[in-house]
């Protein structure tokens, strides 16, 4: 999926990432306990925000613009929420301040310094307009504007309105083990967590009238300017990201139209498991996968991508049943059978568990994105840019995970929302 950012005015709520991946093992180990003062503080602050947000909303309806003091308060809250989420999810290392000051934390959000005039009708129905963004935000970061990602000291997410956040949670749990072991946060998990926090901050800012710009779920736009791309992965998703047209009729019946594919995919999946078992023995003994099985499994993973892209409205045309390369707008590039590490092959299933967890977490975001895209596409006849690219990211990770588990490659799936470098890493 090599593409440049969609060229338009940058979002006024921008993520800032100044983190160096280094983590203090001691603070990582006790992180949830160390954050106890923040839980209390955050709870009190949230109570204050709930009241002042209503006042802010009422004033803004009449004036068309939030008062300066309340605007700054909301900005501080959004920033503090981001800092705390980053600390809890191990996206950032240092202990955050309590005031939500700009520039004080390596994972920060840049917000409009002064309140801007907003359309009154959008202010009036802001909470309704924000619902789709809050759903996506909940699926990624568990944040719904007024709540933090985590509420307990055992990593459990808050319940009720704040019901999602699987991605950030999984990144935090996996990152905890990785940071304790290596003293560093893996880039993929860090980037995925930062992306979730960034989107959550945009959603919060929109809900709290900090900006009237709708949150943008495009991962590239969120991250490309603030962090490096990951190295090139042998399993890549390619396609035209600007192909946003959607047929309303096929969108309406998309699930039903996908049923034959889902049945076919299931049957093929059963065969693929058998083929993967055979491939496991071959790779373990030869150190290199069998070419025929590799082609078969690659076609399966590609077909799976096509079907999910169609089902989840990431692409428009009805896919073929053969997983042929080069015929679908969202396609998969898979390298040939390369030599693989026997240790990685032997313990492939065990090694794949973290990737499976991240993939499961991303599937929540994918589902939320698909449901919202369904409504959007029915009205507009096109897919929203941001959600389309969020979905493409989740599908890319799914394909890389599947490829890893089916021994197409021994390169671990990269959780970073950014596409890998175009040129192979040295």
């Amino acid at each position: 999926m090599p593409y440049e950012c969609h060229m338009h005015e940058p979002h006024p709520v921008r993520l800032v990432v100044g983190d160096d991946y280094r983590r203090s093992r001691l603070t990582v180990f006790f992180r949830l306990l160390l954050a106890i003062p923040h839980y209390i503080w955050f709870f009190l602050w949230t109570l204050l925000i709930v009241v002042t947000a209503i006042v802010n909303w009422l004033i803004s309806i009449f004036t068309g613009k939030p008062p300066g003091g309340l605007h700054r308060l909301m900005c501080s809250y959004v920033r503090y929420q981001a800092h705390l989420s980053a600390y809890l999810a191990l996206v950032g290392n240092p202990y955050p301040g309590f005031s939500g000051e700009a520039g004080e934390y390596p994972i920060d959000v840049r917000l409009p310094e002064e309140p801007v005039a907003q359309r009154r009708w959008t202010i009036l129905i802001r909470i309704l307009l924000a619902i789709p963004a809050l759903i996506v935000s909940a699926a990624m970061a568990g944040s719904t504007g007024g709540n933090a990602s985590f509420s307990g000291n055992s990593g459990r997410r808050t319940r009720g309105f704040n019901g999602g956040g699987a991605l950030l949670f999984v990144c935090a749990v996996l990152g905890w083990f990785a940071s304790l072991a290596r003293g560093r946060m893996p880039k993929g998990l860090r980037d995925a967590g930062a992306y979730a926090i960034g989107y959550s901050a945009q959603a919060s800012a929109y809900l709290l009238l900090v900006t009237d710009r709708y949150p943008n779920a495009d991962p590239t736009e969120m991250l490309v300017a603030v962090t490096d791309r990951p190295p090139r992965h042998p399993v890549r998703v390619v396609g035209d990201p600007y192909d946003l047209r959607r047929s309303r009729l096929t969108v309406f019946f998309r699930f039903l139209l996908s049923i034959p594919h889902l049945i076919w995919l299931t049957l093929w999946g059963i065969l693929s498991v058998l083929a993967a078992i055979a491939q496991w023995f071959v790779t373990l003994f030869r150190g290199r996968p069998a070419a025929g099985l590799h082609r078969f499994l690659a076609a399966y993973v590609r077909y799976r991508l096509h079907v999910y892209a169609y089902l989840m409205l990431v692409a428009n045309p009805f896919p073929g049943f053969t997983g042929t390369a080069g015929i679908y707008p969202l396609d998969l590039e898979v390298g040939g059978p390369e030599r693989q590490n026997r240790w990685k092959t032997g313990f492939r299933i065990v090694l794949g568990i973290p990737a499976i967890l991240v993939n499961a977490a991303l599937s929540g975001a994918l589902f939320a994105s698909a449901v919202l895209t369904w409504f959007y596409a029915l009205v507009k006849g096109s897919a929203p840019w941001g959600l389309r690219n969020l979905s493409a990211y989740t599908l890319r990770y799914d394909a890389q995970t599947e490829a890893y588990l089916l021994l197409l490659t021994d390169a671990y799936p990269h959780a970073s929302p950014l596409e890998g470098e175009n040129t192979p890493a040295e």
């Binding site: 047929s247 096929t250 019946f253 039903l256 049923i259 034959p260 045309p317 009805f318 896919p319 049943f321």
Partner: protein, 414 residues
């Protein structure tokens, strides 16, 4: 006479012989059905309700059918434009077009489905708006799967170079094979609980059909059916038919009817008729789509679906003639097995009050919609049986479970 014409004649002769063999029945040819007056058999209010209810139901059927034809006609004309929504190659694109056609029909028929539920509710019959909308949505998904399998077979054969336009020759046997497979497998998929009644074993002995009789839950209407081939043969009773107001005598008649289907190999005969219709139907479809490039190209699919639906509509009266004959034979078999025309008569009378089936529908309804003999015809057969046996309607010999045959509603036994 050319060779092809001779072959065609030979095929027609084979078809006619096969049809004659399948047409044979155990109902005496000389059986004379007495003419009965429906007003003497049904209370006026029951008759009025059934007739009024059925009259509007007929309108719904007409509306649905016309809508279906119009939508598919337009789809045949303009449906090709949806090929651009596919990246699936010819067969996959054909599948997509087929599914879109069905989806459009579903959407157009939705108001009728909802109206029908409303109409049923007005008459105190069961019906669910959720089932009529969301439930139908899932039914549409099942249709899609069947359609895709069918199109994969037809288009796959049509795209084989040495078969081409003659795809109908191998396709028809394939579909017949699938029908046999489905008939064989489906009874095991239906489940149900065992039905134990003392008369079952006796009926099985009389009909010489020793098959399980099972009860299916989850249905609101009284009904029953027989299905399966060889070891998978089963009789299924919908739960309401074994509950009051139905009496054991009526149930005995119902079981006798269903065993009669199996005793006279009606499942095989149905498959035989299906095969006889499948060949000409597929042939006409092949000819009709030739101008659009034949069934091997997706552009022909919208037209093919339209033609197929029209053919089914044309074929419907013929199918109904066949099924009415099979049902009549099953009724006759039940009468001979139970020697209880009274139970049969009461059973059929109950249909009118419970399912609001019109005892004697108008001619066009009879031709297009009645795949069973009318209630009046069925009651007349019980009278004819009583007369033929030179006996008055009497109580059955097995009285162990036979309660009073109170007039209570029954579903459509088929």
């Amino acid at each position: 006479m050319t060779r092809s014409r001779a072959a065609l004649l030979a095929l027609a002769a084979v078809w006619a012989v096969a049809a004659w063999l399948l047409w044979r029945t155990s109902v005496p040819a000389a059986l004379h059905l007495p003419h009965l007056d429906e007003h003497s058999l049904f209370p006026p209010d029951v008759l009025h309700r059934a007739q009024h209810y059925s009259a509007v139901q007929r309108l719904f059927w007409l509306g649905t059918t016309i809508t279906q034809l119009v939508v598919l006609g337009l789809f045949a004309r303009y449906g090709v434009r949806w090929t651009r929504e596919s990246a699936a190659g010819p067969i996959g694109t054909g599948m997509l077009l087929g599914m879109i056609g069905f989806a459009l029909v579903w959407a157009a028929e939705l108001p009728f489905s909802v109206l029908e539920v409303w109409w049923r509710h007005r008459y105190g019959l069961s019906g669910s708006y959720v089932q009529a909308t969301v439930g139908n949505w899932f039914a549409l998904g099942a249709q899609f799967v069947v359609l895709c399998v069918a199109l994969a077979i037809v288009m796959g054969l049509a795209r084989v170079r040495w078969i081409g336009d003659r795809w109908w020759m191998p396709a028809a046997p394939v579909f017949v094979g699938l029908r046999i497979l489905l008939a064989f497998v489906s009874p095991w998929l239906l489940g149900g609980s065992s039905f134990h009644a003392p008369y079952v074993a006796r009926l099985q002995r009389i009909e010489r059909v020793h098959v399980p009789v099972r009860v299916l839950n989850g249905f609101a209407e009284p009904n029953a059916f027989a299905t399966g081939l060889g070891p998978s043969r089963r009789v299924f009773l919908w739960k309401p038919i074994v509950d009051p107001p139905f009496t054991p005598r009526m149930d005995r008649f119902v079981v006798g009817h269903e065993l009669g289907h199996l005793a006279h190999d009606h499942i095989w005969k149905s498959i035989g008729w299906y095969a006889l219709f499948a060949f000409p139907l597929a042939f006409v479809l092949a000819v009709a789509t030739r101008r659009r490039g034949g069934m091997g190209v997706p552009e022909a699919i919208p037209l093919a679906i339209f033609v197929y639906v029209v053919l089914l509509l044309v074929e419907l009266p013929l199918q109904n003639v066949v099924t009415r004959r099979l049902e009549a034979e099953a009724d006759w078999s039940a009468l001979r097995a139970t020697h209880d025309p009274v139970a049969g008569r009461q059973l059929f009378r109950l249909f009118a009050s419970e399912t609001l089936e019109d005892p004697s529908p108008p001619g066009w309804d009879y031709v297009f919609l009645q795949n069973h003999p009318t209630l009046m015809q069925r009651i007349e057969m019980t009278e004819a049986y009583a007369a033929t046996a030179s006996m008055r309607p009497r109580r059955p010999r097995s009285t162990a479970t036979a309660g009073p045959a109170a007039a209570r509603p029954v579903g459509r036994v088929g």
